[in-house]
């Protein structure tokens, strides 16, 4: 973690967001320190996905501001901001008309890397997420299993060496065994790459495994921001509701 007082990788300052008069986020304030994995934990409708989309400007805050590397997202060139942030979603969103290789190499290609370098990068990334490039490079997304697709999704997010990674319930649609494998891989990649990540989930076990800190959202408010150990000891009813699941 960065020294206290340094620029946060991401900072929410008093951020509120509404859709059609319904409050989705209510004066959210927190920092994500460089290198950490902040897990946004919450039930459906708690506003965690909305919070994530505010980081890469898929949504803009109605009041307050979101800072990335110390700069409000409103001041960023939105294309540059997004190309520097990897984004992985539950539905993966691979391009069905592209091969696996083309999917992974997309952002480097948008950034006009030389073709040779893209090719090397793609092969290295597939290797890194546990897919043999020789076998998978030319395949289409529909020829992959759910777990393989999400591995490609992770490789694609890492492709242009982003400053930050956003995960929106990336493993939510996978069977428990595959989910566990991908969580292990996530931990492995983090040890190698030291990327700052924000990870959205409603699965408290996943949150405890992956988080350096857990931010519990409840109806748009930040309920608790705590390390996994602190979270397990937290006494608030909202936190207890989640930890109670662990005993069953």
């Amino acid at each position: 973690m960065a020294p206290i007082g340094g620029a946060a990788a991401v900072e929410f300052r008093d951020v509120s967001f509404q859709i059609a008069g319904r409050v989705i986020l209510d004066r959210l304030t927190f920092r994500v320190e460089p290198g950490e994995t902040l897990v946004l934990l919450g039930l459906s409708g708690s506003g965690k996905t909305t919070a994530l989309k505010l980081v890469n400007s898929l949504l803009m805050p109605e009041s307050g501001e979101v800072l990335v590397d110390g700069r409000p997202t409103a001041d960023w060139d939105v294309i540059a901001l997004r190309r520097g942030i990897g984004y992985v979603i539950q539905e993966v969103g691979l391009f069905p008309h592209f091969t696996v290789g083309e999917n992974v190499g997309l952002v480097p290609r948008l950034e006009q890397w030389p073709e040779r370098r893209i090719h090397e990068r793609v092969a290295a990334l597939l290797e890194q997420v546990g897919l043999d490039p020789k076998t998978f490079l030319e395949r289409r997304p529909r020829e992959l299993s759910g777990g393989q697709r999400q591995r490609v999704g992770v490789a694609r997010a890492l492709a242009a060496d982003p400053r930050l990674l956003l995960f929106d319930e990336p493993f939510g649609a996978l069977d428990p065994i595959t989910r566990r494998e991908l969580q292990d891989q996530f931990i492995g990649l983090r040890e190698q790459l030291h990327k700052t990540s924000i990870f959205v989930t409603h699965d408290v076990r996943e949150a405890l495994r992956l988080a350096s800190r857990i931010a519990l959202l409840d109806r748009g408010r930040l309920e608790i921001l705590a390390t996994p150990d602190e979270f397990l000891r937290a006494q608030s009813p909202q936190a207890r509701a989640f930890t109670a699941v662990l005993d069953s």
Binding site: R82, I89, E91, G93, F95, H97, L106
Partner: protein, 206 residues
């Protein structure tokens, strides 16, 4: 019933017919696809423009040709008026399918593309249009087949084409003449339908 020169006549009218159809289709594509793309970006324009195209389709073709004759610049007797009418007919399926094809692109795919930092043109050219291509092409196919059939009516306002045989045949109660117009028109429709559906299959995302 033996008519020397009928075959040559058929060839030249088929050529004329093809030119009518190809010109109208080219114009309809040049208007319909960009307009369809615009409609994906401007939801407010959808109802009025689709409504207009819908109404055009409901006007009986012979009546539409007739309505256009007194209009200055685009009207009058001849090929130009015929082409205007054919374009108005071909517009709806092209417009509607361009809109439907692009709006039908998987939400997750579109969101990923945006989140990865694609600009609007990149999203359009690299993601939306390739994925919408089969649907757009299905619209083009419908428009082409309709235009080939409707173009036979162009002869009623001096537009030429295979309709010349049909109107002449009706006037003189001569089945051979009617068939000399109808059979090549049907063949053209079948050929273009087959050709375009072949391309449509090729374009479907693998």
């Amino acid at each position: 019933m033996d008519r020397p020169g009928l075959f040559d006549d058929i060839l030249s009218h088929t050529g004329e017919h093809l030119i009518l159809v190809l010109t109208s289709m080219a114009i309809a594509l040049a208007i319909g696809i960009p307009l369809g793309i615009l409609l994906t970006r401007r939801a407010g324009l959808r109802a009025p423009l689709l409504g207009f195209a819908n109404v055009m389709q409901t006007v009986p073709s012979l009546a539409l040709f007739g309505f256009l004759i007194p209009i200055p610049f685009i009207g009058g007797i001849g090929k130009r008026t015929a082409i205007v009418a054919l374009v108005l007919y071909a517009l709806l399926p092209i417009l509607r399918n361009t809109l439907a094809g692009i709006l039908g692109v998987d939400r997750a795919v579109r969101e990923s593309a945006t989140a990865m930092g694609m600009t609007n043109p990149q999203l359009l050219w690299q993601v939306e249009l390739p994925l919408a291509a089969p649907v757009i092409l299905a619209g083009v196919r419908i428009a082409a087949v309709t235009t080939i059939g409707t173009a036979t009516i162009a002869a009623a306002i001096g537009g030429g084409g295979l309709g010349v045989f049909i109107f002449r045949g009706i006037a003189s109660v001569d089945t051979t003449q009617i068939l000399a117009g109808a059979v090549p028109a049907a063949l053209l429709a079948l050929l273009s339908d087959g050709g375009l559906s072949w391309i449509e299959k090729r374009l479907s995302p693998a």
